[in-house]
């Protein structure tokens, strides 16, 4: 697949995700109407209209500013803010990161994206946004402290190719929409005992809160059932091929696959999960911030459902690239 095909596929899939999200909410709205209209009567499908409105607006808002939501949820700080109050040694590291991002933007022929630092000691990095000129790159404090310049360049090259082939657009909209549903589901699951207990007590006393209770219950059931399905969907949309591809095109930018291979080795050695990054945006990262065991496995099942390829396979692929690209002794 060449660059233009990748970009076209990502544009198409972004639309698909947005439509699927609106359709999902509309389904909930239909369900509400079917229940509400049969109980109370009336002809206005309030639920469907509200669901369509809420769904479309949140899909558009996610498209326009999903990157801001992702950055906000990880607590990322713009590098310019950190530079003002940094010590001299720290300023050197930050400046180096900024330079490396600039270099990779030049190598990719793209405008330089703004750089953010996530205050987390575990090494990791992600890119988010809509595409070239409207994206950001964030790295954790741990990554900045662990990697040397060459390795940093490998990681930034990887993220820059996610931006160039529009992976960021798809992954950001998935993070914003599906992450929102996952959040709702987490919240519903936590409120299970409290909500369940209260509605039963109300049911005993009087029937007044009955409809609201049933509606809440239905949304809750649907959300709980759908959350794992959505998580699977999310993993499939952002299949592990994407990471292999970004590794390869990142190495094409730096012309130095070994730099990224070393970086991945160091990231792999740091076993601690990246706490600042939650489940909804895990697929954006260069390495799985949750350290899920499925990502270590090979085979078609893992290929379909895991968000990241096994680190060992990625490193091996990069090393193979380096051996192939060994300079010939004499030009042809």
């Amino acid at each position: 697949m060449n660059l233009f095909e990748q970009q076209a596929a990502n544009r198409r899939r972004t639309w698909l995700v947005m439509l699927a999200f609106v359709a999902f909410l509309l389904l909930l709205g239909f369900g509400f109407d079917a229940f509400f209209l049969s109980q109370v009567g009336g002809f206005v499908p309030i639920g469907s209209i509200v669901a369509l409105g809420v769904g479309s607006i949140s899909a558009l808002v996610s498209y326009a500013s999903g990157d801001k939501a992702v950055l906000l949820s990880t607590g990322a700080v713009p590098i310019a803010d950190l530079l003002q109050s940094a010590s001299e040694a720290d300023a050197l590291k930050l400046r180096q990161l900024d330079n490396v991002v600039d270099e990779m933007a030049i190598a990719a022929g793209l405008p330089k994206p703004p750089v953010y630092i996530v205050p987390d000691p575990d090494p990791n990095a992600f890119a988010t946004g809509r595409g070239p000129g409207r994206s950001s790159i964030a790295v954790t404090r741990g990554l900045l402290d662990t990697l040397d310049r060459e390795e940093l360049q490998g990681v930034i090259g990887h993220e820059m190719s996610h931006i160039r082939n529009l992976d960021v657009r798809l992954m950001t909209i998935v993070a914003a929409l599906v992450g929102g549903v996952a959040l709702l589901s987490d919240w519903a699951r936590r409120g299970m005992w409290w909500g369940g207990g209260r509605s039963r007590r109300r049911g005993d006393g009087e029937g007044g809160g009955g409809i609201a209770g049933v509606v809440f219950f239905a949304v809750w059931i649907v959300a709980i059932i759908l959350a794992p399905v959505l998580a699977q969907l999310l993993a499939m949309m952002v299949s592990r091929q994407r990471e292999y591809l970004a590794d390869a095109s990142g190495a094409e930018l730096t012309r130095n696959p070994i730099g990224l291979a070393h970086a991945l080795e160091k990231i792999d050695e740091a076993v601690a999960p990246t706490r600042a990054i939650n489940r909804g945006s895990a697929h954006l990262c260069i390495a799985d911030p949750l350290g899920r065991s499925l990502n270590l496995k090979e085979g078609s099942w893992a290929d379909a459902f895991a968000s990241h390829p096994p680190m060992a396979a990625r490193i091996a692929a990069l090393r193979a690239m380096a051996f192939e690209k060994r300079p010939a002794t004499s030009p042809p």
Binding site: A89, R95, Q96, N99, D102, E103, I106, G109, R149, R255
Partner: protein
């Protein structure tokens, strides 16, 4: 019916011709822009060098030869005319800068100086930016040339006024040589 088929064929050919021509124009502009980006990075490097030389001058006063050779190479690079000349003089400047940075390693006060470290980082980054700008230029220039030279475009490209873009090459023989590494001093 044959007339209709002919009409469709003519329309297809016209659409193909317009799309190919516009594609080539777009690529030509990208190639020109890529070339200008190299100049932007070279300009950055020229601006940075006096700063570096001033910062290290105090501690490295007896390395006057190295410092003057850098400033002279910079002055020459500023007056370069044409791509080939520029490539050669920028190559000499790169070599002079490389020597300066290598010699600076011998001065512990310089190595621990944060200002010098920052300037070294800036200089290393500028060298990288020049390199990556050239890499990008060569990549898009190669795509542009390939587009012109594949069949059937090779029949029309020169007639439409498209010329293959010149690739950036290392003209300085010294740059192509494998650097010798001295491991005796640790």
């Amino acid at each position: 019916m044959p007339g209709l088929v002919l009409l469709v064929l003519v329309i297809l050919v016209v659409v193909w011709a317009i799309a190919s021509y516009n594609g080539l124009v777009t690529m030509r502009n990208q190639v020109l822009n890529g070339w200008k980006q190299i100049d932007v990075q070279l300009k950055r490097r020229h601006d940075l060098i006096p700063n570096l030389v001033n910062t290290v001058r105090g501690a490295m006063d007896f390395e006057r030869d190295t410092l003057t050779s850098v400033m002279e190479a910079r002055a020459k690079a500023l007056t370069a005319t044409g791509p080939a000349d520029a490539a050669q003089k920028e190559g000499q400047l790169s070599a002079a800068l490389g020597r300066l940075l290598a010699v600076a390693e011998n001065y512990p006060t310089l190595k621990s100086n944060e200002n010098v470290k920052m300037l070294q980082e800036e200089l290393a980054s500028t060298e990288n930016k020049v390199g990556f700008a050239r890499q990008f230029y060569n990549d898009i220039a190669t795509r542009f040339n390939t587009r012109q030279q594949v069949f059937p475009m090779n029949l029309f490209a020169s007639g439409l006024g498209f010329k293959p873009a010149e690739l950036f090459e290392v003209t300085n023989a010294a740059e192509r040589e494998v650097p010798t590494v001295d491991l005796s001093r640790k």
